[in-house]
C-alpha cells in the first residue's frame, strides 16, 4: 500500500476516524500499532515478524542496559543489538552482493569459485526501521534515552506507519516523548498537514511518475541516445528522485501530523546547495544526521589529523552509499560524494584568504555543485558500471553514440520545474491560504485535488526509496 493509491486513502480515513474517536491514549497507541502492522502486512505479512523480532530484541537490550551498570555488560548488550540489527540487514540486503562480489574477486585472482546466491526477498523499508530501532538502543547505551518499559510504545516507535518504509529516519529521543500524553485534535494543524500532503502527492504522483518513463527509457539503453538526450535523461532522474523521495517524506510527515505526531524534516531545497557539504545538510537530512551521530563521530569525526578526518569522511560516505543498495554503483556514488566533500574541504582551506576565489564561487558554486551531484546520480541510477560509463561519456564529454533522442522541449519542462522550485524556495506559494475562511479553503482544496488527479499517470511507479 502506497500513499498515492486510493486504498491508502480509505485506510487512512479509517485510522484517522477511529484514532480521534478514542479518548484513551493507550487505546490510541494500540490502535496505531495494529494499523501500522496492517500497513506493513499489505506488502508481505510474513515480514511483520521481522519488525516484531527486531523490536523485541531492542526492547530486551534496552531493559538490560537499564539494569546493568557494568561497562563490559553494557558493551555486550549494545553489541548484541547492533549485531542482530545489522546482521538481519546484512542477510536480507547484502548477502547475495557479498557472495557474488567475493566470487568475482576470487575469479579475478584466477581462483574461480562456484557460489550459490539465495533467492532472498528484500523486506520493504528494512534499512529505515532498522535504523529507527538501533537509534533507541544506542541512545539508551549513551544514556541519552531512558529505557522504556512499555513494549507498545517501543513497537509503535519502530513500526509507526508513516515513516516505516521510506523514512524520514526517526530517532527514539525525538519520537518516544511524543507518546507520553494524549494528543488533542484542536492542536493539530490540519490545514498545514493537508497542504503538505497535497504538495507531496503532486511531487510524487504527477512529477516523479510523469518523468519516470523518460528516465526508464534512457537508462535501459543509454548507448542508443544522443548526448543531449543523455542530459535530459540524467536531469530528469535528478528531478524524479528528488520529487519521489521528498514527496513521500512530505506525505509521511503530513499523515503523522494529522494523527498529532511530528516527524523530522528531511529535505531543504537540496538542489540549491552551493557545495556538497551544504547538499548533505539539505538532502535526506535524517539519514545524514544519523550517520554523523552514530557513525562519523564515533569513529573519530574531525578529531585528530586531517588525514584521519578525511578517512572518516570516506568511510561514512562509502557506508552511506552501501546503505542505499547492495551494488557497486551505490558504493561508487558514496565514494564520489566523499571525494567531493574532501575536495570542498581542501578548497575552503586553500582559498580561505583569496578574495578572487570567493568572488568566482559566488557565480560558480551552484552550477559546479549541481553538476557534480548529477554525475553522482548517474551511478545511483545506472544498471551497471558499463552503462554508467556510457552515460558519463555522454554527460561529461558530449560523446553520444546513438541516434535516438528525446524532444528538446523537455528541456523547457526542466526549466519550468526548476523555476517553480526556485519560486517555492523564495516562498512565493507561502501560506496565504492560511487566512482563507475554512469552508473556502476546504472547497478549494477539494477542487484542486480533483484537478491534480488529471495529471497523474495511469501507471504507478513504486517509490524509489522502497527498495532501500
Amino acid at each position: 500500500m502506497s500513499f498515492v493509491e486510493f486504498r491508502f486513502l480509505w485506510f487512512f480515513l479509517l485510522v484517522f476516524i477511529v484514532y480521534w474517536a478514542m479518548r484513551n491514549n493507550t487505546a490510541r497507541k494500540v490502535w496505531l500499532l495494529l494499523c501500522s502492522y496492517a500497513f506493513y502486512a499489505a506488502w508481505n505479512w510474513k515480514f511483520t515478524f521481522l519488525v516484531l523480532g527486531s523490536t523485541t530484541v531492542d526492547y530486551i537490550v534496552g531493559q538490560m542496559l537499564g539494569y546493568s551498570e557494568s561497562p563490559a555488560w553494557r558493551r555486550f548488550w549494545i553489541a548484541t543489538s547492533v549485531c542482530v540489527n545489522l546482521g538481519v540487514l546484512a542477510f536480507f540486503k547484502y548477502f547475495n552482493f557479498f557472495i557474488s562480489s567475493a566470487s568475482g574477486f576470487l575469479a579475478w585472482f584466477g581462483l574461480p569459485a562456484s557460489v550459490n546466491t539465495l533467492n532472498i526477498i528484500l523486506p520493504v523499508g528494512i534499512s529505515f526501521y532498522t535504523f529507527h530501532s538501533m537509534s533507541y538502543t544506542i541512545d539508551v547505551y549513551r544514556r541519552k534515552q531512558r529505557p522504556i518499559s512499555n513494549f507498545v510504545d517501543l513497537s509503535l516507535f519502530v513500526s509507526f506507519f508513516p515513516p516505516l518504509v521510506a523514512g524520514p529516519i526517526v530517532r527514539a529521543v525525538y519520537f518516544l516523548p511524543q507518546l507520553v500524553s494524549a494528543k488533542k485534535f484542536s492542536n493539530v494543524d490540519v490545514r498545514g498537514a493537508v497542504m503538505l500532503f497535497l504538495a507531496g502527492f503532486i511531487k510524487k504522483a504527477c512529477i516523479a511518475d510523469g518523468v519516470a518513463p523518460t528516465v526508464d527509457r534512457y537508462f535501459a539503453h543509454p548507448a542508443n541516445f544522443t548526448a543531449t538526450s543523455a542530459w535530459i535523461g540524467v536531469l530528469f532522474y535528478a528531478i524524479q528522485i528528488y520529487c519521489d523521495f521528498s514527496g513521500y517524506t512530505d506525505m509521511a510527515i503530513a499523515a503523522a501530523r494529522l494523527l498529532g505526531y511530528q516527524l523530522p524534516n528531511n529535505f531543504q531545497f537540496p538542489y540549491f546547495a552551493r557545495n556538497v557539504s551544504d547538499f548533505w545538510r539539505r538532502w535526506h537530512i535524517s539519514l545524514s544526521s544519523w550517520l554523523r551521530d552514530y557513525l562519523y563521530i564515533p569513529i573519530g569525526g574531525n578529531r585528530g589529523s586531517r588525514g584521519f578526518a578525511y578517512r572518516n569522511v570516506m568511510i561514512t560516505m562509502l557506508l552511506g552509499g552501501l546503505w542505499h543498495g547492495a551494488a557497486w554503483t551505490f558504493v561508487i556514488w558514496g565514494a564520489l560524494h566523499g571525494t567531493a566533500l574532501l575536495i570542498h574541504r581542501e578548497w575552503i582551506r586553500l582559498t580561505e584568504d583569496l578574495k578572487w576565489a570567493a568572488r568566482a564561487m559566488r557565480w560558480l558554486a551552484w552550477p559546479i555543485t549541481i553538476y557534480a551531484i548529477c554525475v553522482a546520480w548517474i551511478f545511483f541510477r545506472a544498471h551497471d558500471l558499463s552503462s554508467a560509463g556510457t552515460t558519463l561519456k555522454q554527460f561529461i564529454l558530449f560523446q553520444g553514440g546513438g541516434n535516438e533522442h528525446f524532444h528538446r522541449w523537455l528541456l523547457l519542462v526542466i526549466g519550468a520545474l526548476v523555476l517553480i522550485h526556485w519560486l517555492n524556495s523564495r516562498r512565493w506559494f507561502a501560506e496565504s491560504w492560511r487566512h482563507w475562511p475554512a469552508p473556502i479553503f476546504a472547497a478549494a482544496y477539494g477542487c484542486t485535488f480533483a484537478v491534480v488527479l488529471l495529471f497523474v499517470p495511469p501507471h504507478y511507479t513504486p517509490f524509489i526509496y522502497f527498495q532501500f
Binding site: F6, Y174, R292, A442, L454
Partner: protein, 378 residues
C-alpha cells in the same frame, strides 16, 4: 554525513493552544471535510463531462472519432474483438445484402483484445452519439472477462471503460453476487476469496484492481494527457488507415496462414473440442450484460444481433438466446459450418485468414438476409 550543525532539533509538540477538543470543533471539522469532499466530487463530475473521448491505443480512438464524424452514414454496426475486427468485411457484407435486395451500409467496430465489459462500454458511447440511421447492431457474444494480464493493467485501455455499470458486473461475477440490481457478495465465495481457497487465489487482487480502476476512472486519473492528445495528435492518414482499413470501413485484413505444424496442432485441438459433448451457456453476468446492451440498442430504434464467431474456444458455447432480448447467430458449430473450420482458412484457433473472413462475412450476410426476410430480427 559529516555535517557540523545539529540538523534535527528535538521538537516534541507543535506550538499550539491547549484548548480541549470540543464538540463544536468536531462538527466544524466534519462540515469542512464534507465541503471539501463535495467540491472534489463535483469537480470530478464536471471535468468528466467536458473531457474529450480518451486517446486509447489499438484503434479505439481512431474508430470512435471516425464513426462520430460519419455516424449517420451507417445503418449496420459490428462490434467485438479481433474475431470481428479481422473477420467481418463490411464491403462484402454490403455487397451480399445489396445483391439480395436488402441494401445496408455497415461499419466494423471490432478492436483487438476487446471483450465484455469493454465492448458494452464502447457500444454505449457509440449509441450516445445518437446515430440516426443505425438499424442493426451485431455484438460479439462471449463470456464476461474478469482477467487482465498484469502487463496490461497499467494501460489507459484498462481504465477508460471502468464505470460503475461495467465494474459492478465484474465485482458481482468475482464475488458470486448474482445479477439482481441490489446485490451482496456470496458469503461462501467471499470466505474463499479472503482465505485464497479453491480457485480464488488471484480473486482478491482482481477485486482490488477493479475497485482501483473504478476510482481512477471516476476521478479522471491521467486524463490531462487526453486533452493534450486531443489538440496535438490529430490522426494522420496512415495512422487512421492502419486501424480503419483500406476501405475506411473499420475492417483490416490479416493474410498470414498457419504453417503445416501449426495446422496439425490446430486440427488436433479442433478434434478435441468437437469430442467434448457438453455445451455450456454463458454466465448469468454475461447474459445480463448483453441484455443491457440489447436494451440500449433498442432505445435508439435499432435491433441487436448477437454473434458467436467460428472459434475453437467457442465451439461448446450453447447458442441459448432465451432472455437475451435479441437474435443470436451462432457460427461455432464445425459440423454446420465445416468450411469455416478448415485449417486452410485459419490463421489460428481464434481467427480466419482473409479468404476465410470473406467466406464468414458472406455466411453472416446470407443468414442475416434470410432472418430479416423471415421477420426474425425485430
Amino acid at each position: 554525513m559529516p555535517v557540523r550543525e545539529p540538523v534535527s532539533k528535538v521538537h516534541v509538540e507543535p506550538p499550539a493552544s491547549s484548548k480541549p477538543t470540543s464538540g463544536k470543533t468536531v462538527i466544524r471539522a466534519l462540515t469542512n471535510a464534507a465541503i471539501g469532499g463535495t467540491a472534489f466530487l463535483i469537480t470530478c463530475v464536471g471535468l468528466r463531462a467536458i473531457l474529450p473521448f480518451p486517446e486509447i491505443d489499438g484503434g479505439v480512438s481512431q474508430k470512435f472519432r471516425f464513426f462520430a464524424a460519419h455516424k449517420d452514414e451507417f445503418d449496420t454496426l459490428f462490434i467485438g474483438s479481433s474475431r470481428v475486427y479481422f473477420q467481418i468485411s463490411p464491403a462484402i457484407f454490403d455487397r451480399v445484402t445489396r445483391e439480395s435486395g436488402m441494401p445496408t451500409h455497415s461499419f466494423n467496430f471490432g478492436i483487438g483484445g476487446m471483450y465484455l465489459p469493454e465492448t458494452a462500454y464502447l457500444l454505449e458511447q457509440i449509441l450516445n452519439l445518437k446515430p440516426r440511421n443505425l438499424r442493426w447492431v451485431f455484438i460479439e457474444y462471449d463470456e464476461l472477462q474478469t482477467k487482465w494480464s498484469p502487463e496490461n493493467q497499467t494501460s489507459r485501455r484498462a481504465l477508460y471503460w471502468a464505470d460503475w455499470k461495467r465494474v459492478s458486473f465484474l465485482l458481482r461475477k468475482l464475488t458470486g453476487a448474482g445479477t439482481e440490481p441490489l446485490w451482496l457478495p456470496n458469503p461462501a465465495k467471499l470466505r474463499d476469496i479472503m482465505l485464497r481457497q479453491n480457485d480464488e487465489k488471484s480473486t482478491r487482487r482482481l477485486l482490488a484492481f477493479y475497485a482501483a480502476q473504478f476510482e481512477k476512472n471516476y476521478t479522471n486519473v491521467a486524463k490531462a494527457g487526453d486533452v493534450l492528445d486531443y489538440f496535438l495528435s490529430r490522426d494522420t492518414k496512415e495512422r487512421s488507415a492502419s486501424y480503419l482499413g483500406a476501405a475506411g470501413d473499420g475492417y483490416v485484413t490479416r493474410p498470414n496462414r498457419m504453417s503445416p505444424s501449426q495446422a496439425a496442432a490446430y486440427e488436433r485441438g479442433l478434434a478435441a473440442a468437437m469430442a467434448q459433448t457438453d455445451e455450456h451457456a454463458l454466465s448469468p453476468y454475461a447474459v445480463e450484460a448483453y441484455r443491457q446492451c440489447a436494451r440500449e440498442v433498442r432505445n435508439i430504434g435499432a435491433a441487436p444481433i448477437f454473434l458467436i464467431t467460428p472459434s475453437t474456444t467457442q465451439i461448446n458455447v450453447a447458442p441459448e438466446s432465451t432472455g437475451l432480448a435479441g437474435v443470436l447467430m451462432a457460427f461455432n458449430d464445425p459440423r454446420t459450418y465445416p468450411s469455416l473450420f478448415r485449417s486452410s482458412v485459419r490463421r489460428d484457433g481464434q481467427h480466419l485468414t482473409k479468404s476465410g473472413a470473406d467466406e464468414f462475412t458472406r455466411t453472416v450476410a446470407a443468414n442475416f438476409v434470410e432472418l430479416a426476410r423471415a421477420g426474425g430480427i425485430k
